[in-house]
């Protein structure tokens, strides 16, 4: 037979050749030094890769960075509720959702009302501050992850609880949109940045509570 394709030699090394093809290639190798060398080199590379250490020394400061991010994103460390307290926990979640909505929308209304006339937006400039965009992407990532987790766990929550959570989320989302629009008009306003961050934290906390409740039911 002519020299096998290199892809075939790779498949031989990986044990992925069909029996007939394997037989042909091995017969060729018995009489072809060049192809045997190719296979030896492939096997040596695969073996060296498999022998690489599974761990590498962690850079200094990695834990401190991870801890700082965790602390920045965490609102409240929530204790896990016992299974027997499911009814109470569901009710607690509904109350918490209402409280969060009141806090979120109420604070937004208060701050925006207190701002008086907002600066006119600069035409063509709608970008939020760069520092805030990085922070916001972190919140959005957390929200997306928790939302996906909650969606996967919906069957563990009763209909009334889901409805309460969805209503609360809709209200917080409206507060986020309102605060975000205000910040776009007035990007240097630190109070608006704090307000928007606060709204995101309320959303993350509500989703965390809901996913934790779903996890223990």
């Amino acid at each position: 037979m002519t020299h096998p394709e290199l892809e075939q030699l790779n498949d031989l090394v990986d044990g992925r050749l069909a029996p007939a093809a394997r037989h042909d290639v091995e017969a060729h190798l018995a009489s072809c030094r060049a192809c045997r060398d190719e296979v030896d080199a492939l096997r040596a590379t695969v073996a060296a890769a498999a022998a690489l250490p599974s761990s590498l020394p962690v850079p200094d400061g990695l834990w401190d960075d991870v801890r700082a991010t965790i602390d920045a994103r965490r609102v409240v460390a929530l204790p896990r509720a016992p299974r027997a307290a499911r009814t109470f926990s569901t009710r607690t979640l509904a109350i918490a959702a209402t409280a969060l909505v009141m806090a979120s929308s109420g604070l937004t209304a208060f701050v925006l009302r207190g701002r008086g006339s907002s600066p006119a937006p600069v035409e063509g400039v709608t970008l939020l501050p760069a520092s805030w965009r990085a922070t916001e992407s972190g919140y959005i990532e957390s929200v997306d992850a928790l939302r996906a987790q909650l969606d996967a766990q919906r069957a563990q929550l009763d209909t009334a609880t889901i409805a309460a959570v969805e209503r609360a989320l809709a209200t917080i989302d409206a507060a986020i949109v309102e605060a975000r629009a205000a910040l776009e008009r007035d990007p240097a306003n630190a109070a608006l940045t704090d307000l928007l961050a606060s709204n995101y934290r309320q959303k993350v906390e509500l989703l965390r509570r809901a996913t934790q409740l779903a996890s223990i039911t």
Binding site: L6, E7, N10, D11, R16, A41, L42, A44, T45, V46, A48, A49, A50, A51, L52, P53, S54, S55, L56, P57, V58, P59, L62, W63, D65, V66, R67, T69, I70, D71, R73, R74, A77, L78, P79, R80, P82, E141, S142, A145, L146, Q149, A152, T211, Q212, S215
Partner: protein, 195 residues
């Protein structure tokens, strides 16, 4: 019942054999105990970082990816059910973080109208370490120089032991493409390492 917080010295460096197992630590961490999560970090961060270094081919980027993976692990502790080993769960989560990052990078490149050119990040043969430094360092450096897709397929298959179909699924590419990237990676490594 509230899971009690773990009482430890703030920096855990001593033997951890008397400490709770990973599942217990994950439960405590889920309840908000960051010290338990720090013990999990001490046990598993080296493997997370190694995977990120090899997949990213760049230590600065690897540190960012390891950070993102570990933060995501904290945020998703609720999804860890203890069915698999914690290290396995964390490893899979890290692979997802790295591959999602690669996909985002490709989208960003597409947005600036740079067509994906997998050859673009292929340099010449890497400058390998002097021979007395050792083959392992040579191989690590050579892996870092591979084209992105070939590097990721090679690391997942030959270093981490994923199957072709698992890699195809996670990278959203055809199994035949996995095979082609793997072949290309090995061919380049053999040439560079003069095996």
């Amino acid at each position: 019942m509230t899971v009690p917080a773990l009482t430890l010295h703030p920096r855990v460096t001593a033997s951890t054999q008397d400490l709770p197992d990973d599942r217990d630590l994950a439960s405590r961490a889920l309840a908000g105990d960051t010290r338990s999560f720090e013990v999990l970090f001490e046990r598993h961060a080296g493997r997370v970082y190694a995977l990120c270094v090899r997949m990213a081919g760049d230590r600065q980027r690897a540190q960012e990816l390891a950070h993102d993976a570990l933060v995501r692990a904290w945020e998703r502790l609720g999804s860890y059910k203890g069915e698999a080993a914690f290290g396995t769960w964390l490893h899979r989560l890290t692979v997802n973080v790295v591959l999602e990052s690669a996909r985002s990078q490709r989208r960003r490149e597409a947005r600036v109208a740079l067509a994906e050119d997998d050859d673009a990040d292929v340099g010449g043969a890497p400058e390998l370490a002097p021979s007395d430094v050792g083959d392992r360092i040579d191989l690590e450096r050579a892996i870092a120089k591979l084209p992105r897709n070939a590097r990721q397929v090679f690391v997942l298959h030959d270093v981490e032991g994923f199957r072709h179909d698992e890699i195809a699924d996670r990278m959203a590419i055809a199994p035949g493409t996995v095979r082609a990237h793997l072949h290309r990676a090995r061919k380049l490594l053999i040439a560079w390492l003069d095996r």
